[in-house]
């Protein structure tokens, strides 16, 4: 019986393993070309089609398994949440519109008051009324009454 050294036997075993792996790899490449174009690998082995399809299948399965009643319930919930959201949106719009209207109202009242105050001020009126060039064109009788009134005020001070 021929004596086989442990080194030689280990080399032979390694060559066999290498040939087997190369064969497997070529097979996997051929079958997965369409489903795994990027050649994504996991610990050396190319990830196959069923790895990608698994999750989708489970979702579909879940949907298929969901009863009609549950679906209706889910739709109802969705509609209700959408309706609540719309109500909230409208109510916020309403409050904003009311606040805006109130602000405009307050501003208008303040402006009207200011205009009234300006209209009532005597200083503005005096500048035009007691202008010399304007007084010159007024009748003397009017100037007489104005001067007598002013002199009465001055002498009483």
């Amino acid at each position: 019986m021929q004596k086989i050294s442990p080194l030689r036997s280990s080399i032979e075993a390694f060559n066999k393993f290498k040939a087997l792996r190369a064969n497997k790899a070529s097979k996997a490449e051929k079958s997965n070309q369409a489903t795994n174009p990027f050649g994504i690998t996991f610990k050396g082995t190319v990830i196959q089609m069923d790895v990608f399809e698994k999750t989708e299948k489970t979702q579909e399965a879940k949907q298929n398994s969901m009863s009609l009643k549950e679906r209706m319930q889910n739709t109802g919930k969705l509609l209700a949440s959408a309706w609540v959201g719309t109500i909230n949106k409208f109510s916020s719009l309403k409050t904003n519109a009311i606040a805006f209207g109130n602000k405009i109202k307050e501003n208008t009242i303040a402006a009207a008051k200011k205009i009234q105050e300006i209209g009532n001020t005597k200083v503005e009126f005096d500048i035009f009324k007691y202008n010399v060039s304007r007084l010159q064109n007024q009748p003397v009788s009017e100037l007489r009454s104005m001067l007598s009134n002013e002199l009465q005020g001055v002498t009483n001070e």
Binding site: S141, L143, L147, S148, V154, T155
Partner: protein, 120 residues
């Protein structure tokens, strides 16, 4: 006194073309107890440079150049001296010197006339 309105009314009456404005200034302005208003009135009347206005300022006792307040009288004299056309004023001064009943008024008119002859 710092009354812009009174000043403006007196100034407007001084520049007014209506002869009635002289009467208003004579009645209200020259009889006012406040010196400043009499001063403003005498200025306004003399600047008119008409016979009626100058007569009030030269002939009447206690008004214009004959005012009891030295300040008002001096202001009236200054205005007379500042006139460009002094003919009418000199004519009235001459009449006052010759025909006025009051000696005090005559003397004042004489002094003012002398000043005016020096200044012209």
């Amino acid at each position: 006194m710092n009354n812009r309105r009174v000043k403006n009314i007196i100034e407007a009456l001084g520049k007014h073309k209506d002869a009635e404005s002289i009467q208003v200034l004579n009645e209200l302005g020259t009889n006012c107890p406040i010196d400043e208003i009499r001063e403003l009135t005498s200025k306004a009347l003399i600047r008119k440079n008409t016979h009626e206005a100058l007569e009030i300022m030269i002939v009447n006792k206690g008004k214009g150049i004959n005012d009891l307040s030295a300040r008002v009288a001096m202001c009236a004299i200054n205005e007379l001296l500042a006139l460009k056309d002094k003919q009418e004023a000199i004519k009235i001064l001459d009449d006052t010197i010759n025909m006025h009943s009051e000696k005090e008024v005559q003397d004042t008119a004489r002094s003012v006339k002398a000043l005016m002859s020096f200044s012209s």
